[in-house]
Amino acid sequence: MAALPNLHEFDAASSADDVAPEGFAIRLPSAQLGDLIQINCLNRVRGAFRVSSEGRQGHLFFEGGQLIHADFGAVTGLDAVVQMLGWRGGAIEPCHAPWPPESSIDMGADALLLCAAQRLDEMPLRPSHGAEDLTTKVVRRVAITDQAGLDGAAGEPEIELRPSVVPAYAQLRQLQVAQLTFDGVVRQLKSGATLDLADTGFFSQRMAASIGEALGLGDCHAVFLDGPVEGVVVIKGRSVVATRGNKADLAFILSRLGLA
């Protein structure tokens, strides 16, 4: 997928009236919000997005390859992301929401989605709304200062992304997850993860860092322990996340990390 321009670049470009909005309106049948988060982080998009569904509305803020803030009413951070990830249909589009004074999310996209997916699993089942809303989500990448552009995307070319372009983040739900601080304090254990996984994550990250230091390679941001059937992936971002699972379920994480 070609890298798309960042939204702040649209801000500058749109100051001239004769500059047409750049980017495409993208219709992604059955797309998930998690997919958008991954795409925006991958493309290092900077900008605010409004997520709306069945009269509900939240916001996501991206910067520097990370989702740095999310809000849904009074709920912010990971809790807001979890709420929005639970929505089954709606729209996603750039907006002018005020930029948050500080970040409310201290995890990279992978760790965030891992934690959110586990949290979603623990949420009570939604009450039935009758027929499922399977409406197509719309992701619009247009000049965010050009309101006409936001409303008039119908004439723009539509592209369809094959599902294989973005890994199915639902696979994350199969994985045990331990999240801990750099000092080894366990923050969360999910999906049957035990303290052993947290210990493994902490020790692996420390040892890998010392190997990088010895060879002058800098800090180590990911470790993969390769077992015959299962594997453990340890990711160091704003915290340390150790993930254990079947190697087939870990494959797309390894691919994202460039280790497969």
């Binding site: 040892m207 990088g212 990911a222 390769d226 453990v232 460039g258």
Partner: protein, 110 residues
């Protein structure tokens, strides 16, 4: 053990160098660029051995480890005599590396 056994890995695009160490991390053979001091490689080898040994507690019979750094990767694979470690750039030719590693492992185990 001669470093010549490791030579096939040199021809793989993206591979910077390789070395092999015993189960406890003692360096057995080395085919790394000069900029990597032997002492540093020995230290790294010992720590890799330690890391793999400890990973057995999390995964029975761990076969190897891969470490990802900003611009490099370090792959360590177990074999009967110890560990084969390959230092690569960020995006090595994995297929060729796998093939070359198999050949080197066969030579090391012979």
């Amino acid at each position: 053990m001669s470093a010549s056994a490791l030579r096939p890995l040199r021809d793989v695009p993206g591979v910077i160098g390789s070395f092999t160490c015993g189960a406890l991390g003692e360096l057995l053979a080395c085919d790394m660029p000069e900029r990597f001091a032997r002492a540093a490689i020995e230290t790294a080898a010992a720590r890799l051995g330690n890391l793999l040994q400890s990973s057995d507690e999390a995964l029975s019979e761990a076969r190897g480890i891969a470490l990802s750094f900003a611009e490099h990767q370090l792959h360590a694979r177990r074999y009967a005599g110890g560990l084969l470690c390959v230092l690569t750039e960020k995006n090595p030719d994995r297929e060729k590396m796998e093939s070359a590693s198999r050949g080197v492992l066969a030579a090391l185990e012979a």
